[in-house]
Symmetry: C2
Subunit: 286 residues, 2 copies
């Protein structure tokens, strides 16, 4: 069994990014919209800001109270869409439940959509259009698989979890790599049987130790997207029972140090991609 | 075994549509762009025009020579996007190979996109957004399943074929109905095994008699999207070996008379939906 070391790969990606940004003397700013006071969201944003600063991307957090209306956020997004000093925009999820999440996400100009969650970018991704901005977690997983030269074409990939942020974009990407993809969710009836057929098993469920050795085909590749808190130790743990599964699989992502750091690296890569694109097109019109 | 009679259901839908259009005194025009002289495309367009006329939708075919450039088509689409007399636009596929299909499709204003093939409408569909215009074949299949009260939630659906026009939107729709979906294609290695697990099997391959009784689980629901010409008789036949499969399955679509007529009915329903939406929003701004 080999560990898919997202920590190490993400550092390499961030270093390359830093060099590119310095070389181009790029003036890049990511605007982050945070609504409410979810401590996990605040922690994620701190991590994003810290790594952004390291690579030379400025960040501005728009910290809005819990009772902010959809209309107020739409106005803010509209201002940022038009503000030339804003390179890219992201809305920290989850949003408080009273807000219209899709309306807010879709109001972002697709050309400034750092998380790639607008309908247009999602559609471009399913069209296999190279201009698509791809959601960071899904993109990070593909980069990780690629860096370990794991073959994808013709493999059976099982994705558990069908979120807009992770499951659906992963499906689009793995399908584009010629995997045969099965998309599972809470209504799936024969999950263990399906998982046992997976050459590549990806879990984004959010339940500790949900995936056990029983789910795993020998030598499968196991990707753990779960971020859960161990109730006893308060440590971060994934969806996968690492101890039993790691004996049976060929590759596995640890939690922490697997998918998580890749997500931030790909978010910042997206922001740079957006800057490059806007820079090219503004040069093109001069 | 019961036949899923798309001919009958489509007639019912078209009659309802006719009544609605008459009642609203709706002035609706569908612009169809045809490039080249593919006889099958010309036949499909004739059928669309005939049924459109019956329900009270005007059509205008823009018949362009085989050597038309992408730029010329983009200009035409741009004109139609801005022309208030054009309710909806569709590009007859397949396009000649020298043309940039995605660029042409994505140039259509998503609010006039009769086939729902723009990136924005595809993304809205995957977001389960009710404003999405849904590709007609996929939508027709869901309506057909619904009209026969076939349960979908928790069922294993296997889709063979991952086209932008059929496979991908079907995946989005069946996933939204809580099916567990597997998307197969030419790189899929164990297709027979996968098909044998399908409660609902959908074939969009384009090979006569590709699906045999051996692929079928007892009492499966079989949807045949193939439109192939029998080399001996020149008759239309599907992907499914109807004779052997129909003994084993619970429901099956015939070819012709299954999915085909549903596609035209749903295309015209889409055009009416677009008219309703534009009519509502133009009233809203008065």
């Amino acid at each position: 069994m080999q560990i898919l070391n997202g920590q190490k790969l993400s550092q390499k990606i961030l270093e390359t990014l830093k060099t590119s940004i310095k070389k181009k003397q790029a003036n890049i700013k990511l605007d982050i919209i945070l609504v409410g006071s979810d401590p996990a969201s605040q922690k994620y944003i701190e991590m994003k800001q810290k790594k952004a600063k390291k690579v030379g991307i400025k960040t501005q957090v728009h910290d809005l109270p819990d009772n902010t209306t959809t209309q107020t956020i739409l106005r803010l997004v509209n201002n940022l869409n038009q503000d030339p000093s804003t390179t890219a925009i992201m809305v920290q999820l989850p949003l408080p439940k009273h807000l219209n999440k899709l309306e807010i996400l879709n109001s972002i100009n697709p050309d400034k959509d750092a998380d790639g969650l607008t309908a247009t970018n999602l559609g471009l991704l399913f069209q296999q259009n190279s201009t698509a901005i791809i959601p960071a977690t899904a993109l990070g997983i593909i980069k990780l698989l690629k860096s370990y030269k794991i073959p994808l074409s013709g493999k059976n990939a099982v994705i558990i979890g069908r979120s807009l942020e992770v499951g659906l974009p992963l499906l689009a990407l793995l399908n584009a790599k010629n995997c045969t993809c099965t998309l599972c969710h809470s209504y799936t009836k024969n999950l263990v049987d399906i998982c046992q057929k997976a050459d590549i098993l990806i879990s984004a469920v959010g339940k500790p130790n949900f995936i056990t050795a029983n789910h795993i085909k020998n030598d499968a590749v196991v990707i753990d997207i779960g971020i859960n808190k161990d109730t006893e130790t308060s440590k971060l743990i994934g969806d996968v029972d690492f101890k039993s599964v790691s004996d049976k699989c060929s590759f596995i992502t640890p939690v922490p140090g697997g998918v998580g750091p890749m997500t931030i690296a790909m978010l910042l890569s997206n922001v740079f991609k957006i800057w490059q694109k806007s820079n090219l097109s503004s040069r093109g019109t001069k």
